[in-house]
């Protein structure tokens, strides 16, 4: 990410908090002109203290600030990520990578899914869709709805079954969903496609409760330092569920893909997952397009 993109990222993160440049400057003990220079991409050097102050002021969690530091290094990812040595990346094929990862998702015996750097579900196994209570056909239709294939849509979208199905600790699940989304997307928040998704999610007509939790997720004073996410809630079909979502992030020339899978934390959840797989079979489905993104 070059300095210009980094500037746009800082501006986006500031705007997400609803602040003016003057307010950010004051909170970070900087001159207002310094903020403007950073956001225009005109600042060349970032020393440690400045980055630290920005990260704190922008209320980034530990996992988010790692992404922020990578963004601030200024190295252009398009060639930095992949060595141009002997093998190069000329042979890299996005479709082949997605197919390969979809196969992995298919064979896992737990609910598993693949999300991209915008938090969109690129593929999921049948067990995951059953756990989210989204029928496959319904999910296919959601491809035409902006943000329809994010986990957040399943959680916050009007008329989505999952929202009604969770009868205890919906809030824990809802906040975890947002925080995972925040980490996965951090370096892409300045991108038009992310802004397009977020604008939709923040529209109370479509997602009446999203805004409240979006705000809440940044000011929560506990940190997020681990990609492991322990979830504990009660739903209307399985009763109490206790599982850990583990996420493995793979870097590709078109941004990260994260493979998430749900590991049971007690015998009852093991049994529930087992029953889901027996009923749904071992299958996987492709959903959001990747890497091309289309805005409606």
């Amino acid at each position: 990410m070059d300095r210009r993109d980094f500037g746009e990222l800082v501006a986006t993160l500031r705007e997400e908090l609803g602040w003016t440049q003057a307010e950010l400057a004051q909170a970070a003990s900087l001159e207002e002109s310094a903020v403007s220079i950073i956001e225009r991409g005109a600042r060349k050097h970032f020393d440690a203290e400045l980055i630290y102050r920005l990260a704190n002021t922008l209320q980034l969690t530990t996992l988010e600030r790692r992404e922020f530091l990578l963004a601030a290094s200024g190295v252009d990812e398009s060639h930095a990520r992949f060595r141009t040595g002997t093998s190069g990346n000329s042979a890299w094929d996005a479709e082949r990578t997605v197919q390969h990862l979809t196969q992995r998702v298919e064979h896992l015996r737990f609910p598993a899914y693949l999300i991209d750097c915008y938090g969109e579900i690129v593929a999921a196994n049948a067990a995951a869709m059953d756990l989210f209570q989204v029928p496959i056909e319904r999910a296919r239709e959601l491809a035409d709805t902006p943000a329809g294939l994010t986990l957040l849509h399943f959680l916050y979208g009007e008329g989505m079954a999952l929202r009604a199905a969770v009868i205890q600790n919906w809030e824990g699940l809802a906040v975890a969903g947002i925080r995972t989304f925040r980490e996965a997307t951090l370096r892409y928040r300045g991108q038009p496609y992310f802004k397009y998704l977020l604008k939709r999610l923040r529209n109370p007509r479509f997602y009446p409760t999203f805004e409240r939790y979006w705000r809440k997720s940044t000011i929560l004073d506990q940190d997020r330092f681990s990609t492991l996410n322990v979830l504990s809630y009660v739903d209307n079909i399985h009763g109490p569920l206790n599982y850990c979502v583990s996420t493995l992030t793979l870097t590709t020339p078109s941004g990260e893909l994260s493979l998430a899978h749900c590991i049971p934390l007690d015998e009852q959840t093991s049994t529930a997952f087992r029953a889901i797989v027996d009923r749904m079979g071992v299958r996987a489905f492709r959903f959001a397009s990747w890497p091309e993104k289309r805005m409606h």
Partner: protein
Amino acid sequence: MNRVEFGELIATLREDLGWTQAELAELLELNVSTISNIERGTKRHLDPQLLFNLAQALQLTHGERQQLYLAASALDEVKMMRPTNGYSPDQVIGPSQKLEQLLQIAARLRIPCFLVDVYQEVVAANAIIAELFKFRAERVDELRKIPGALTVLWLIQSEGQLVGPAVTERWEAFAINNMRLFRESSLRYRARPYFKYLMKEFRNPTKYPGFQRYWRLASTLGPDEESRLNEYTYSHPEYGRLSYHVFSSLSATRHGELYLYQLVPTDEHTTDVFEALARDSGDHVIRMAPWPDKPME
């Protein structure tokens, strides 16, 4: 990591390739004095092009590069953590508290798992994996005395008769992959005395034949992200044919990352075996390598 530590890191990476400052300078088309300034920590600003060229010249994999760029931010490890009060670095979740949280998760997971640190030393293993690989907790004290014996690769060599078939069927891929993980997770720590202490052992060909070769291979092979998804299928003498993927997830602490490796079943039989082990072996973990303090003999 401040600039002085970053300088030491660059010097270590350069020496690992057997180069002089002059040789690195020539490759980067820079003055030797610039390299010398970087290594002494007196060059304050490292612009993006220089960082990229350094990573390129030092032949880093992209996982290693990410660690190098984090190191180049010049932020102290503790400042890479979010302060819970918003501003002050002394208000971060402490390492022992984080370790405790991870151990609790490891104890509850219904699949085999183990936790490793930046040196790929096994900090803890859950009861399921200990049972699967017949690892005896009594061995820990003994292994702690042997430098490097609690790292993943060498544990498998010395203790892993049962993992044997899984590994020997594809030894080359397994060894390279492990070495790549070792290289990537340790990158920011290469100039640390403990890393050098481990490397001194590993580089002894009578103790660790093949180390040098795989160490090199892991950095010179092309990028292959998909190989990060390691799949195993083999016959376990007691539990029959097992199929699983090995996944890892990252947790950030001021003493470096901790990675939880999980064996995730990919068929019905393996799912049953793991679930039966979870029922029988109880929900506890075996503490292995010391962390965060790393005593040297």
